[in-house]
């Protein structure tokens, strides 16, 4: 059967990884791209970090954000997770014929606000329009360049005994968008969409030895943490009771048959830090407005190599795999 692009390929899980590894990487391979980080570190006058991301979201406006805010924050966050100071963004719009000017204005204004907050500039861009019915309102691509301030972050640094931290409540964005899409529980849950470069700078200035930072977007916390350890001799053990989940997010997920640990976040980061750094990192997070609900949620061990496991609130333990395809609401 011919391979076609189904929605699963955009889920951020295994199929997305396969698409990158089997189709894209072999053709466009170079040392910078091969690392598959959130951004590429390339040679320049200084060390630069370069990243790109495309934004397709339905609905375009949702509680806590919109596609414009998302497109700036997403790329700023990818650069920040690499230890960079984000500087310049490019921006491409692909707009469907018939799209209202007023909505485009709202989107661009929202981008401007986020650029201001994050201290970045959009320095280049492009606009294309496709025929009615050939797009979903608007798609945005942004690419960004940042100056590398904190080199050496990466999963290869992770050691047994390291602590795993999250900067706040998980699953807000994915749940908020899912509810907005289905016009359910409107207004009770807002996306956490935010630019995280201030938070990463706060963390790295007090704990330059942090092993890795990553923003758990598509695929959620469970998928990102799996990526840290898969194929290695290390595993991560989470403590469910310590993972911050808003009660209304948990309730919405229970109703929709979803799992907050697999829902996207757009304003949270995961950090792995040496035991002696963990409290410093936690304090730095809690002192920042985007990290007040931060927590240490788990530890790196050698017990189950390559696996992410969790001690449940009930007292049992279970394995958390990477997201397999898109999360689909369950009947049972």
């Amino acid at each position: 059967m011919d391979e076609i692009i189904s929605l699963d390929y955009g889920s951020g899980g295994k199929k997305t990884a396969r698409l990158i590894e089997k189709l894209i990487l072999p053709r466009l391979d170079n040392p910078a791209l091969r690392e598959l980080g959130d951004g590429a570190i390339v040679d320049g006058g200084e060390k630069l970090v370069f990243s790109t991301d495309s934004f397709v979201v339905s609905p375009l406006f949702f509680p806590g954000g919109d596609i414009g805010k998302l497109s700036v924050c997403g790329t700023v966050n990818d650069l920040s997770m690499c230890g960079a100071e984000p500087k310049y963004l490019s921006c491409s719009f692909i707009i469907e014929e018939g799209f209202p000017f007023s909505e485009l204005e709202r989107i661009v204004e929202s981008m401007a606000v986020q650029c201001e907050k994050a201290g970045v500039q959009i320095v280049t861009g492009d606009t294309k329009v496709v025929e009615k019915g050939r797009g979903d309102g608007i798609y945005i691509n942004t690419a960004g360049i940042g100056v590398l301030r904190h080199p050496g972050l990466g999963p290869g640094n992770i050691r047994p005994g390291d602590k795993v931290l999250v900067s706040g409540f998980v699953g807000d964005h994915g749940t908020a968008v899912m509810l907005a899409r289905n016009q359910m529980m409107q207004g009770e849950i807002a996306s956490d969409c935010a630019a995280l470069n201030g938070l990463t700078e706060a963390i790295l200035s007090v704990a330059p030895g942090v092993r890795i930072l990553r923003d758990p977007t598509r695929g959620g916390v469970a998928t990102t943490l799996n990526e840290f350890v898969e194929g290695t001799a290390l595993g991560i053990e989470l403590e469910e009771a310590r993972i911050p989940v808003r009660p209304q997010v948990q309730a919405a997920c229970d109703m929709l048959g979803l799992d907050p640990l697999y829902c996207a976040n757009e304003g949270k980061l995961l950090a792995v830090a040496a035991p002696e750094d963990a409290d410093k990192v936690l304090a730095a997070m809690k002192n920042h407005e985007l990290g007040t609900d931060a927590a240490i949620i788990g530890e790196v061990t050698e017990r189950y190599p390559g696996k992410l496991t969790m001690r449940t609130a009930f007292g049992g333990s279970r394995v958390l795999q990477k997201l397999s395809g898109a999360q689909l609401p369950r009947i049972c």
């Binding site: 189904s6 007292g315 394995v319 795999q321 009947i331």
Partner: protein, 356 residues
């Protein structure tokens, strides 16, 4: 750390001795709760929890999915479905509603059957076909949607009924050669409709213990304890551990609604084959809302064409790893049988926990 109630129950279960016993849950929500809480990891080694055919999506056979996939490609048709149906494979490997949607079929995820009626009203020029999947729990909702459509004259709405009933499937399982289950965790949600009465046949006709269980991990553990106690004491009966929702006679209103809309019929189950009186077909007077009649669909009952051994796995006669398809042809990304289709089915769980 688990709380004291949990600790006490675990201690009580251990105090019953180390007689090996297979307990089966036949409800997808139980399966999910057990997996999410890690309950299996806490139980003593002599107690094995098996996942029976309790996920209605997973037991929908490939032959019927094939018909749905074909119907989905018709220009005028919108398929309305619960989300987890989208990944269930037809008889061609990798073919599913998710794939058909990528090929241009219009497939909408709905959260209740009544939403599908609204979808039909919003799309008067098209035929909306709701995939009626589920056991006694979801059947009343499907019935309500059909009756609403009838009342409001929404003639472009129809239901493809794949609804099933629990009792005939359990009887088939019990009659299978090599059946090795010592007691059943009975589904509380189904119980709220059919009542305690719907499960009495287990002890009365087969001498098998049954406990109707709630859905919190601790409620499930309590039911496990009661089952283990019955088995140890050799006194099989039906116990109701979910009294706040399950009455002896069930929900007569919902039962009346089912009787008004459906008739029992022979139904095909993935992994179990064709079972007499295990399905709910729409009554003749509701033919206008019956997608099978409207589109001339014939669910050709054929034998499962693959080497899938889910039937054996479900009965507890075969471990998932012993199936020739396991982890080779059949994986969570590209499943063949129901035990792999469900993210917490026996095979998917075995796949996930390899090396632990």
């Amino acid at each position: 750390m688990s709380n004291t109630g949990t600790q006490k129950l675990l201690a009580a279960i251990e105090a019953l001795g180390d007689r090996p016993m297979n307990l089966m849950e036949v409800c997808g929500t139980h399966t999910m709760a057990i997996a999410r809480s890690g309950l299996k990891s806490l139980l003593p080694g002599n107690i094995r929890l098996l996942s029976g055919p309790g996920c209605p999506v997973c037991v929908t056979p490939a032959e019927i999915i094939d018909g749905v996939l074909e119907l989905a490609m018709e220009k005028n048709v919108i398929i309305a479905s619960y989300g987890d149906m989208l990944r269930v494979p037809g008889s061609t490997p990798g073919d599913s509603l998710l794939r058909r949607r990528a090929l241009g079929a219009r497939v909408e995820i709905v959260y209740s059957p009544v939403d599908a009626v609204s979808l039909a009203k919003e799309n008067p020029g098209r035929e909306v076909v709701f995939l009626g999947v589920g056991f006694e729990t979801t059947a009343p909702g499907t019935a309500a949607a059909v009756l609403t459509a009838q009342e409001e004259g929404v003639n472009n709405f129809s239901v493809l009924s794949m609804l099933k009933t629990v009792e005939p499937a359990l009887r088939t399982l019990i009659a299978m050669e090599g059946f090795q289950v010592d007691g059943f965790l009975c589904p509380g949600h189904v119980g709220s409709i059919i009542g305690e009465a719907g499960f009495r046949f287990l002890p009365e006709e087969y001498g098998l213990p049954g406990v109707i269980a709630g859905f919190d991990p601790e409620e499930i553990l309590l039911a496990v304890y009661h089952l283990a106690k019955q088995i140890t004491e050799g006194h099989p009966r039906l116990e109701n551990d979910y009294r706040r929702a399950v009455r002896p006679e069930g929900n007569p209103l919902a039962q009346a609604m089912l009787n008004r809309c459906f008739v029992p019929r022979r139904e095909l189950w993935r992994g179990l084959g064709s079972i007499e009186n295990s399905g709910l077909g729409l009554k003749e007077e509701l033919a206008a809302f019956d997608a099978e009649k409207k589109f001339g669909l014939t669910a050709a009952p054929a034998a499962n064409p693959t080497a899938c051994r889910c039937g054996d796995v479900i009965c507890g006669r075969l471990s998932p790893e012993a199936c020739p398809l396991f982890s080779r042809r059949c994986t969570p990304e590209d499943p063949v049988g129901p035990c792999m289709v469900s993210s917490e089915g026996a095979c998917a769980a075995a796949y996930k926990y390899r090396g632990i």
